[in-house]
């Protein structure tokens, strides 16, 4: 038996191909939206993985340090090291800010780390780790910074000594790692005018500038310009210990909030990016509906253009199955072309997006199944119209 669908497609391949490309671009957008969502989740997971920690210790009653502000003293890390099962503990400070790179503004997440402790990037793709106490930085390649390049944060110049990859915040901003002390200074440093003003106010305050207590004023002034706060302590546990048990111990004795890796992942994926993912899901639903409507309209129009031929086919004895099958195959053919074009387009344009777009085979397979299902459903209207064609219309009168 002749395959009527393929013959019709070959006969009007130009029109069919253009329609398929148009649909494909729409499918490409849909796949990309799914990729944007996956990218957000992957960014969040990458951040957690790259931290290299088993437990995050943060301020009590907060979801910090990524989802909520968290502030704890940096000497807490020493206390935590004394807990059973703790192998390493490192202070970290996180700060989202903007730096200048090559004349452009680049949004980054500044991470203050202690050398050799949890929080350091797990690997470098170029350069070396931070070895100086101040003003050296490790930057993600996405910042556009290169080895040896200098950039300014507040009033200091930092030199890039190493490059990392896939070190991004949950919102996709590339990370720049600097020594913890520098990050603390960046977070709490005031401008000169504010410092002078504060100093004058404190000096003028008789409570802080008592004649009988030498050194008090100097201590207070020193305290005003220094910070010993960090956002979190990252803990690595000894082999054989259960993270939840160690976390519970820290909660109990140190009066701090702790999160294991799974809990932190839950916070980032289910809470921090939940709204964004719902937004994307809504877009996906709308795009799917629009795509289905377009396919239905195209197939319906193509069928209406063949009404006379369908009437003749029915008159000469073609069964409903033959006609339905022709329309269904064309709808599936259109879906196949659309999917191939869409997948190719999404693969080509995904790296051009400013944020990470992760296209995974599972989504592609699911997308393919959905496209085919959508095309099958969309063809129902056209099949219904075709089956209602009266063979008598082929005969005049």
């Amino acid at each position: 038996m002749i395959n009527l669908a393929s013959r019709d497609i070959l006969h009007g391949w130009g029109k069919f191909a253009f329609t398929g490309v148009g649909l494909g671009l729409l499918i490409g957008v849909t796949l990309t939206m799914a990729g944007v969502y996956r990218g957000m989740v992957d960014d969040a997971k990458a951040m957690i993985d790259n931290a290299g920690a088993d437990i995050w210790v943060v301020q009590q009653d907060t979801l910090g340090p990524y989802a909520e502000p968290s502030s704890i003293h940096d000497d807490v890390a020493r206390d935590i090291l004394g807990q059973d099962g703790v192998m390493e503990a490192g202070n970290v400070a996180y700060l989202t800010m903007q730096i200048q790179q090559g004349g452009k503004d680049v949004r980054i997440m500044l991470v203050g780390i202690e050398q050799g402790k949890p929080g350091e990037p797990a690997f470098l793709v170029a350069g070396r780790p931070i070895t100086h106490s101040h003003y050296e930085a490790l930057a993600d390649v996405k910042t556009g910074l290169t080895i040896g390049e200098r950039f300014q944060i507040r009033r200091h110049q930092y030199k890039v000594v190493g490059l990392t990859r896939r070190m991004v915040s949950s919102s996709g901003d590339p990370m720049v790692f600097v020594p913890l002390k520098d990050a603390q200074e960046v977070q709490f440093l005031k401008d000169n005018d504010a410092l002078l003003n504060d100093r004058a106010r404190t000096t003028a305050n008789p409570a802080f500038n008592r004649p009988g207590v030498p050194g008090l004023l100097d201590s207070i002034l020193e305290n005003q310009v220094s910070s010993h706060m960090v956002n979190a302590v990252l803990v690595r546990i000894k082999p054989g210990y259960d993270a939840e048990a160690v976390a519970k111990q820290i909660r109990r004795w140190n009066h701090l909030q702790t999160y294991t890796k799974d809990q932190m992942e839950e916070i980032l994926v289910a809470k921090l990016i939940a709204t964004s993912s719902k937004q994307i899901f809504m877009f996906l639903v709308i795009l799917a509906i629009v795509s289905a409507a377009i396919v239905a309209f195209i197939i319906y129009t193509m069928t209406l253009n063949k009404i006379r031929e369908i009437a003749v086919l029915k008159l000469v004895g073609a069964g409903n199955h033959t006609i339905s099958s022709m329309i269904l195959q064309q709808a599936l053919g259109l879906g196949l072309i659309g999917f191939v074009v869409g997948k190719t387009a999404a693969t080509i344009w995904a790296p051009l997006f400013p944020k990470y777009v992760l296209l995974i085979p599972g989504d592609a397979i699911l997308g393919f199944i959905l496209v085919m299902l959508m095309c099958s459903l969309a063809s129902i209207f056209a099949i219904r119209a075709a089956l209602q064609v009266d063979p008598a219309t082929a005969i005049g009168g």
Partner: protein, 235 residues
Amino acid sequence: MRESAIHIEDLKKRYGEGDAAVDALKGVDMTIWPGEVVGLVGPSGSGKSTLLKCLGAVIEPTSGKMTLGGETIFDGAWKIDDLRTLRRDRIGFVFQAPYLIPFLDVTDNIALLPMLAGVPNTKARVRARELLDALDVGHRATAQVSELSGGEQQRVSIARALANQPPIILADEPTAPLDSERALTVVRILNQMAQQYQTAIIVVTHDEKIIPTFKRIYHIRDGRTYEEAGEGREA
């Protein structure tokens, strides 16, 4: 006794009901023999197309009797459940416009019918080529429909009507779009095919040029038929 190809008695067809009812056929009688080409002539609105649709098992008559090849297919109701198969296997259609399938080539336009009847592709295509040769369009076998002239397209549509070797062909004004010479050629072909395959052919026409070529003519007026012996001149 010789079996008629088509025999109808007192065939009636009413459209609508009540005051809006229209009697398109008011009692048609007709007998066509195998190998015979009969003209069906009448003015617009006389019931020609309705009669053709009833004969083609496309619409159901209201009453009367209809037999094809001796088998009663309608006697107050359809006697055959599968009218689609009846049309496919026992009735060929030639239309005013050829209505060929534009996305199939010439051979496949013809071969499609046997294929729908379950004939293997190769055998169906061989049959199509034979018919194209018989109708002098064998050289256009691989052409696309859009590449054919009007006359060639009509020959291909005749070949299609013959593809399943039906005992009956219903031709609805097959010469309307053709000039005199081509119209007469089409009638000559129909006569040849009728003789060669013993097919009964009813040609509905307005065409004054071809009316004299029929040996028998049925006039239809106000839903009734009147038989007339034609001149039967060679086309």
